[in-house]
């Protein structure tokens, strides 16, 4: 049997490369888009523009990590746009009252707000078995309302923010923009978490087969709480960074942004029905959506068409995903022939 096992390792690699095909496809698609954009506008592939693109996509990336964890468990979180707004607004208001506050404390404050919201959602989903889409829909409205109540409908504008606060999103760490740096750190942690920790493995298990997970002694409720709390913390972090970046906190900040985040995850091959999603695919999905958001205006595509094209790309990605999956299953079944 050991001989067969060795042969099997080679085959496992084949199966994995079958899955890797999807990421390769995304990469090729991104490359084609790059070439097309470059032909239309020669400033597209300049260092400055790529840096811009990454700066503008970092927040999307941070959020997509949290959303992917939620999606892997078979859930969804519609409340994050509102959480961004509330966390951002809260930290901005605090900054108005105490201008000398350390920006890092502002970040912690935003994350704490997110943690509270995420914990509540986690409790509703894990403890009271409320469907995630319903629980987060409710929280979305509550949190959005709280943002308006807290601010009295007023904005916090650039001149009311300290320079340190605004520098959060403009400063650099190790020569990289802070936003991008934070997003990269989070991506690395995410990659390590889902691939190399037992908790990561268990999160896939509860999304793939909740019953089997229960029987296998996996603390499903605790893990469900964990993913929503994590999503909340990341949304809170993103909220502070968002307000810092746009130098404005408003009641309608990030309205509907959760759908962009979900779109990035889906583009990256994360399954809405739970159980699958990879770090490598996710990062490509985020970059692709970031490109569509940032590059289409650059090549003078009208805003009306931008949305249209985004929708087409998302559907195309999902269709390829289905095709790849079917192909993989067929390959696997063919191998079953003994």
């Amino acid at each position: 049997m050991s001989g067969e096992m060795i042969k099997g390792t080679a085959r496992a690699r084949v199966i994995r490369s079958g899955e890797g095909f999807r990421e390769l496809g995304l990469l090729v698609f991104i490359a084609i888009l790059c070439v097309a954009f470059q032909l239309r506008n020669h400033s597209f592939l300049t260092l400055a523009n790529i840096k811009d693109l990454l700066d503008n996509t970092a927040i999307l990336g941070i959020l997509s990590v949290g959303m992917t964890l939620v999606l892997i468990t078979g859930g969804i979180d519609l409340s994050i746009g509102a959480t961004i707004a509330l966390a951002g607004m809260t930290s901005a208001l605090t900054g108005m009252v105490i201008p000398a506050i350390n920006p890092l404390l502002s970040i912690l404050e935003g994350m704490a707000v997110g943690l509270v919201i995420g914990s509540v959602i986690g409790l509703l989903v894990a403890r009271f078995n409320i469907l995630p889409i319903i629980a987060t829909l409710g929280l979305m409205n509550i949190v959005r309302g709280a943002t308006y109540i807290e601010s009295g409908g007023a904005w916090v504008s650039s001149y009311q923010m300290s320079d340190g606060f605004k520098a959060l999103s403009t400063g650099t760490t190790l020569g990289v923009n802070n936003l991008v740096f934070i997003a990269l750190v989070i991506f690395v942690l995410f990659w390590y978490f889902v691939n190399h920790t037992k908790t990561g493995r268990r999160i896939y298990a509860i999304g793939s087969n909740p019953e089997a997970a229960d029987i296998s002694g996996i603390p499903r409720r605790r893990l469900l709480w964990l993913v929503y709390a994590t999503m909340g913390v990341l949304a809170g972090l993103a909220g502070v960074l968002w307000v810092s970046k746009f130098a404005s906190a408003q009641g309608d900040t990030a309205l509907g942004y959760e759908l962009n985040v979900i779109a990035a995850c889906v583009l990256g091959g994360v399954s809405i029905s739970g159980g699958s999603g990879k770090a490598s695919g996710l990062i490509l999905g985020v970059i692709l959506l970031g490109m569509l958001n940032n590059a289409l205006p650059l090549i003078n595509v009208s805003p009306f068409w931008q949305q249209f094209i985004q929708g087409v790309v998302i559907l195309a990605a999902v269709l390829t995903n289905v095709a790849v999956k079917r192909n993989n299953i067929r390959l696997a079944l063919r191998k079953r022939a003994i």
Binding site: M1, S2, E4, M5, K7, G8, T9, R11, A12, I15, H196, T197, K198, T199, R201, R202, Y204, A205, S208, N209, E211, A212, A213, D214, I215, S216, G217, I218, P219, G275, S276, R330, A332, L333, R334, K335, R336, A337, I338
Partner: protein, 500 residues
């Protein structure tokens, strides 16, 4: 051959890389119950799908009433009077019995397209009465037992005026008594001139019911016999291609100290005052009718549900498992009855499935040690002889018996003391059954205490050291297998009122 209703000649069906049917034949007479037997993968299911039009054969001929007929799809087969009742009932739990029976061919008013519910309920009531059913047409499907749901499926077949009914392992989820009811229904149908293809792994089903039996092996036709003319041993040889000398190879094992003791365990509405014990190396069978509370007791011990009162001791220390993880940690493993649903993550590799309940053992401070994980999975896969190319194979690509072995492997990664197996051989073919019994023997020899929940009398008598019989949530008898007989167990399992 005038009374032949269905004849298949030289049917071949290939899928990429697999020959699912290789020139098989099959002949069904009018008003006959014809058993179709064979191991898993012998081609029975494929044959059904050919007859019901789900698959088109690559070559061969289907003759219906002596005329060559093409069955192009499920609707086509329904039109031709062919219906199938599957092992896992395919129903709509939130709809009524009537709706389930007539779904797809509801009678509607020609103009308004309105469904005539009054008429349909009346027809459903008629059908149910002809099948001696004890539930109303307006009952919700989801509230019925599996046996009752099967009756609905049969009524559904009759509502389409089916002349040929295929029953695919109908008795697998049923208790002995429910099976008896099903036999009676099948006989009633036969007497009305309906022809039945009966697929089952249970030899007793076949001997009790069928007049002829056809055996497939490895996608090929082996033979057709009159049931009265073929003995049990010959039939097994025909199915597996070799003689299984001993179907229940229970080995004598030195029995050690008590390792699990359950004292007066109760859960309101499910079971009451259940007490028993298991010793090292002992196989304890838990039997009784379905619904007697066996699975519920096991689930409470394992921590899936919580008992209201009573105590459980594992190796002398009290175990109060509030969650399966605690039971696993202490050395109590559980193999669930609904294995595919509860036991495996199908789209995962063998290795990751095997280690799922015991990730602590393969990680340090939360970080996974993949190499250790893979080598342990390999070791167990080899020990249990899982047929696969590697431990990276997806579980979905394995056969049923091998999937079963993977689930067993899940329980062996750690230092288990007691293993509870809930219906370990349900829906498993003869060869895989023998392999599972062999594993149980090995586990017993290795000193595990084993609790085997089973409804199959032969298995209970053949594989255990002691037997606990449950009836209506209580232990009604505890027997030494050496003194036990089928009659003793049955009378303990059935309520006194039913004995007469």
């Amino acid at each position: 051959m005038a009374d032949t209703i269905l004849e298949l000649r030289d049917i071949t069906k290939t899928f990429p890389g697999v020959k699912a049917l290789d020139g098989v034949r099959f002949e069904l007479k009018k008003g006959e119950i014809h058993a179709l037997m064979g191991e898993n993968g012998a081609g029975k299911s494929t044959l059904i799908k050919v007859v019901t039009g789900v698959y088109q054969p690559d070559s061969g001929e289907i003759l219906l009433d002596g005329k060559p007929t093409a069955i192009r799809g499920p609707l086509d087969s329904q039109r031709l009077g062919i219906a199938a009742v599957y092992q896992h009932v395919t129903c709509y739990p939130d709809l009524s019995v009537t709706e389930n029976i007539f779904i797809g061919h509801e009678k509607v008013h020609p103009l308004t397209r309105k469904i005539d519910w009054k008429e349909l309920h009346a027809r459903a009531a008629e059908l149910l009465e002809s099948l001696d059913a004890d539930f109303a047409p307006r009952a919700l499907m989801g509230g019925l037992s599996v046996a009752q749901q099967q009756i609905v499926e049969i009524a559904k077949a009759l509502s389409t005026n089916a002349r040929i009914i295929i029953m695919d392992e109908p008795t697998a989820p049923l208790t002995k008594r429910e099976s008896e009811d099903l036999y009676r229904i099948a006989e009633t149908l036969r007497d009305r001139g309906v022809s039945i293809i009966f697929i089952s792994h249970r030899l007793e089903d076949m001997y009790r019911l069928a007049s002829r039996v056809t055996v497939f092996r490895d996608a090929r036709y082996v033979g057709t016999w009159n049931v009265s003319e073929i003995g049990r041993d010959d039939l097994i040889v025909a199915m597996v291609g070799r003689a299984i000398t001993q179907l229940f190879p229970k080995r004598k094992v030195a029995i050690g100290q008590e390792v699990l003791r359950v004292e007066k365990l109760s859960r309101t509405g499910y079971f009451k005052d259940v007490s028993f014990s298991v010793r090292r190396g002992e196989i304890l069978a838990m039997t009784g009718l379905v619904g007697a509370g066996r699975t519920e007791v096991c689930e409470a011990i394992y921590g899936i549900t919580k008992a209201d009162s009573g105590r459980v001791f594992l190796a002398g220390e009290e175990l109060r498992a509030a969650h399966p993880s605690e039971a696993l940690e202490r050395g109590l493993g559980y193999l669930p009855e609904d294995r595919l649903k509860q036991g495996l993550v199908l789209e995962w590799a063998i290795a990751t499935n095997v280690t799922l309940p015991s990730l602590e053992r393969f990680s340090r401070f939360g970080w996974m040690n993949r190499r250790r994980e893979d080598s342990k999975a390999k070791e167990l896969a080899e020990r249990l002889e899982v047929k696969a190319n590697s431990v990276y194979d997806l579980v979905a690509t394995l056969s049923g018996g091998n999937q079963q072995k993977v689930i067993v492997a899940k329980l062996l990664t750690g230092d288990m003391k007691v293993i509870i197996l809930d219906e370990p051989t349900k829906g498993v073919d003869v060869g895989a059954k023998a392999a599972i019994f062999e594993i149980m023997n090995e586990l017993a020899e290795a000193g595990y205490g084993i609790v085997m929940v089973s409804s199959e009398m032969a298995e209970v008598l053949g594989m255990s050291d002691r037997i606990v019989v449950m009836r209506e949530g209580k232990v009604s008898a505890t027997l030494d297998t050496a003194d036990a007989t089928q009659e003793k167990i049955l009378s303990a399992a059935m309520a006194a009122t039913e004995k007469a």
